[in-house]
């Protein structure tokens, strides 16, 4: 497929949508179409609007159109020994950079190097009025006007179609190694909580079935010394584990029960409700397989100071995000209206 600028055709599609008062459901690679609430609207495929527009390794940024395949971006960065800091999940062959930013999902590296929104430097969007707007830029520091570019991350396309995005990139570590520790869930949480207070280059943590996996990064001598400091056994063949964790390909994820994503304070004692789980992010991210009612899960996650998301489920989803308090919910409605007054963009995808 050729790199092409489809700004005009996307703008025309939005103008038509406005004229005919027909809402659109923004799509591209369909790799993350399972995520968020169901959206009954006419599909608008933006995958043709693709191509890397600018990449300057020494300036630490990349700018690409929304439909650019994520794997293409990662491959171009890898050639220069660089990477996206948030190690995004692909969840499919056709994952695009626009969808990645719109979903705002980060992978195993997130607690140590930052999230999707942390790396957003700028974005061009088309809002629900059909205006083509540019916010932020390609530089690390930019405080001119409100940070609308970052607001697009995780907004699931409900505030605007991300036409192109500029992201901060970082150097790849010289090398990485995985250490594993056989321990209980409680011990694993204690270990991870202790390490977060130390100045050590850990870049991922994952716990399942009495085994804690820890990825460390650095030059060879650093890795050697980290093994002394942290302990554990070196995982000899560690090529695939972090891909499997990121892409949810571990056996745990095969269970047909609904998959919940529970984001809670790292030191939260594990609730019985969340017993069937795996843990990432120092304890801050817990993936739970459960048939318990939505409300009960929202309530337990909320009481712990966090939030829950119904991530994958067989049935059609209508309320998969943690309910917001009334004043905050109203603010969300007002912000949505500020960008998309007629509710043309991904209606109901996030909150209805």
């Amino acid at each position: 497929m050729l790199d092409q600028d489809h700004t005009d055709s996307i703008s025309t599609a939005i103008e038509n949508a406005i004229e005919t008062k027909t809402a659109v459901h923004i799509t591209a690679g369909n790799s993350k179409s399972f995520y968020g609430n169901s959206c009954d609207a006419k599909p608008l495929d933006v995958s043709q609007h693709r191509g890397i527009i600018d990449y300057e390794p020494s300036e630490l940024f990349i700018t690409a159109r929304c439909g650019t395949p994520l794997k293409e971006i990662e491959s171009v960065l890898r050639e220069q020994q660089q990477m996206l800091q948030f190690e995004p999940p692909h969840f499919g062959e056709n994952s695009t950079i626009g969808g990645t930013v719109a979903c705002g999902l980060s992978g195993p590296r997130r607690p140590y190097n930052g999230s999707v929104r942390d790396s957003v430097l700028g974005a061009h969007i088309v809002n629900g009025l059909g205006d083509y707007l540019r916010f932020g830029g390609q530089v690390m520091k930019n405080v001119a006007g409100y940070d609308v570019a970052r607001l697009m991350s995780g907004a699931l396309g409900t505030l605007g179609i991300i036409m192109q995005v500029s992201l901060k990139v970082i150097p790849m570590p010289a090398a990485e190694k995985t250490l594993c520790f056989e321990c209980s869930r409680t011990e694993a949480l204690q270990k991870m909580n202790r390490w977060t207070q130390m100045d050590v280059p850990i870049t991922a943590t994952y716990f399942e079935q009495n085994m804690l996996y820890v990825r460390v990064a650095g030059i060879e001598s650093t890795l050697h010394s980290l093994k002394q400091t942290l302990g554990g056994e070196e995982l000899v063949d560690d090529n695939d584990i972090w891909t499997e964790v990121r892409e949810q390909q571990r056996a745990f994820f095969n269970d047909p029960a609904p998959l919940w994503r529970i984001s809670i304070p790292e030191d939260t004692n594990h609730a019985a409700l969340f017993d069937n789980c795996v843990i990432e992010w120092n304890g801050g991210l817990r993936w739970v397989k459960s048939n318990t009612s939505d409300n009960e899960i929202f309530s337990v996650a909320g009481a712990a100071g966090g939030h829950a998301t119904l991530f994958r489920a067989e049935h059609k989803k209508t309320n998969c995000f943690q309910p917001l308090p009334p004043s905050l919910a109203k603010l969300h409605t007002d912000i949505k209206r500020a960008f998309d007054p007629h509710n043309f963009l991904n209606p109901g995808k996030m909150y209805s």
């Binding site: 970052r150 207070q197 809670i264 905050l328 500020a338």
Partner: protein, 485 residues
């Protein structure tokens, strides 16, 4: 009844009358923030001592239609906390309590009036610190840091305020208390902490914040490299970044600043150098030594005339002292200076500096340059004398030209100081009307009656037209609907 007693009557049930300042002599210290070129007095300065008092005041202002300008320590450089003559100045410096330090989850929960450095001081006993370090960190408050998305010298590695902020509780324009964010790795809904950060007091009044604390780096090195040209120094910066090292700090100073600081506090800078780089590295043991070698090699490859590593902690402090004294040192060269704050892609550094030098000659005002080289944030300091007729106007014009130059090369008019009132005209250069309109609609979503810091940051259509430096996109003339003369 005189206006001053009116004010006491309006707010008497909101906060103790001793916390209402309304006489000219008491208002005078608040006539400006650290953007001192313009001065005006508010109706009153209110100093609430509690969140409830803030709510009382906001509700009262909403009823009486009185604009509110929120202020912390008043160290802002762009006039974000500049008073409005028909409004009140809400000073939150009394909300200065550190409510909680959580070493396990590595956060501090603080009032908006807590000083930036006080957070790191309090967290030190747990081996933690708060990373963003604007040069005014000894005085500036966290509420103001959030409002301006403050940076500092360690942004390249540790990010700005927005990257280190977990949760904000604010009072809305209608007096409602709303909490956004949390101390997890993400939160449900829109990224409102990102929107609130850098919104310059226009979306809500921050009454509490949770900020991320980091482990204090165990090892640190500082390298000083001198160059015969700014081009060489700029090339060295690019090659350092491309080599895969992310320094904790990477600062550049030009000859004017080198001489001024050496004269001011004797940090041992080479006064004959055209530019120096100051590079701070922190990291894990052996890793750090490898990084030091990378920096030294890259500086030498780009014709550094000298490269030296600070021998001990006191020399490290001395090297930094020079950089941190740059502004007061420049202050000794002229009665007044304007500090600009553009950000540019680093590759355009040499071009931008030579253009600044030409502009400096054209406007007959000297310019000294300090540069957060790692993240492309340039601080040209324009020297002038406010007592000379037209000097301020010329300095502002020159500053405006420099910012427009930053936009031209793909950068921005403000990296970390904010727009405030200072850069309203340049907002017309950086943004098109549809974009400014989108900002307006965001503002309305939070503050439909425009009571919170009105007339800052977002220029009106009329102002852009009068400024005459409108953004022309794809050759289309903007503001077609306005008459031209």
């Amino acid at each position: 009844m005189n206006p001053s007693s009116d004010i006491f009557a309006i707010f008497e049930n909101c906060l103790p009358s001793a916390n209402i300042l309304a006489t000219v002599e008491k208002l005078r210290p608040y006539e400006c923030d650290a953007f001192t070129a313009y001065k005006s007095l508010p109706l009153a300065v209110l100093l609430p001592e509690s969140r409830q008092q803030v709510i009382n005041i906001v509700k009262r202002c909403q009823r009486e239609n009185i604009p509110i300008v929120t202020r912390g320590a008043g160290t802002g450089l762009s006039g974000g906390a500049h008073p409005i003559t028909n409004g009140i100045l809400l000073n939150l410096s009394k909300l200065n309590e550190i409510y909680e330090l959580n070493p396990t989850l590595r956060y501090a929960r603080v009032g908006p009036g807590v000083r930036n450095l006080a957070i790191s001081d309090a967290a030190e006993e747990f081996g933690l610190y708060y990373a963003p370090d604007p040069s005014s960190q000894i005085a500036c408050t966290i509420g103001g840091n959030i409002a301006e998305n403050s940076g500092g010298v360690h942004c390249l590695k540790y990010g700005l305020t927005v990257h280190n902020l977990l949760e904000v509780t604010f009072i809305s324009a209608h007096g409602e208390e709303i909490t956004i964010g949390n101390h997890c790795y993400d939160y449900p809904g829109y990224d409102l902490p990102a929107l609130m950060t850098g919104s310059e007091g226009m979306l809500g009044i921050i009454v509490e914040a949770k900020v991320r604390l980091l482990p204090i780096p165990q090892n640190k090195e500082i390298i000083l490299a001198a160059f015969n040209s700014v081009e060489d120094a700029g090339a060295a910066v690019s090659s350092i970044i491309a080599s895969g090292v992310i320094p904790a700090g990477l600062e550049m100073m030009d000859n004017a600043v080198i001489k001024a600081t050496e004269n001011f506090c004797h940090p041992g800078y080479p006064v004959d150098a055209a530019a120096i780089l100051l590079c701070e590295l922190d990291g894990y043991e052996q890793e750090l030594q490898w990084e030091v070698e990378q920096i030294e090699q890259n500086c030498r490859r780009h014709k550094a005339t000298s490269v030296s590593k600070a021998k001990n902690k006191s020399e490290q402090e001395l090297f930094w002292k020079g950089r941190k004294s740059a502004f007061p040192a420049i202050g000794q060269l002229a009665p007044d200076y304007l500090c600009m704050d553009g950000t540019i892609p680093r590759k355009h550094l040499a071009h931008v500096l030579s253009q600044i030098s030409e502009l400096s000659q054209q406007y007959e005002l000297p310019v000294a340059n300090v540069f957060h080289a790692g993240d492309g944030n340039l601080h040209p300091l324009i020297l002038y004398d406010a007592n000379q007729e037209n000097d301020l106007a010329r300095a502002e014009q020159l500053g405006g030209k420099i910012l427009e130059l930053c936009v031209e090369v793909g950068g921005t008019i403000t990296g970390e100081h904010g727009v405030g009132i200072e850069k309203l005209n340049q907002m017309c250069v950086q943004f098109e009307r549809t974009e400014l309109d989108q900002f307006e609609r965001v503002k309305t979503a939070f503050d439909s009656n425009r009571l919170l810091n009105p007339d800052k940051v977002i220029p009106t259509l009329q102002r852009c037209a009068e400024f005459g430096a409108m953004h022309v996109h794809k050759g289309e003339l903007p503001f077609k609907d306005l008459p031209r003369f």
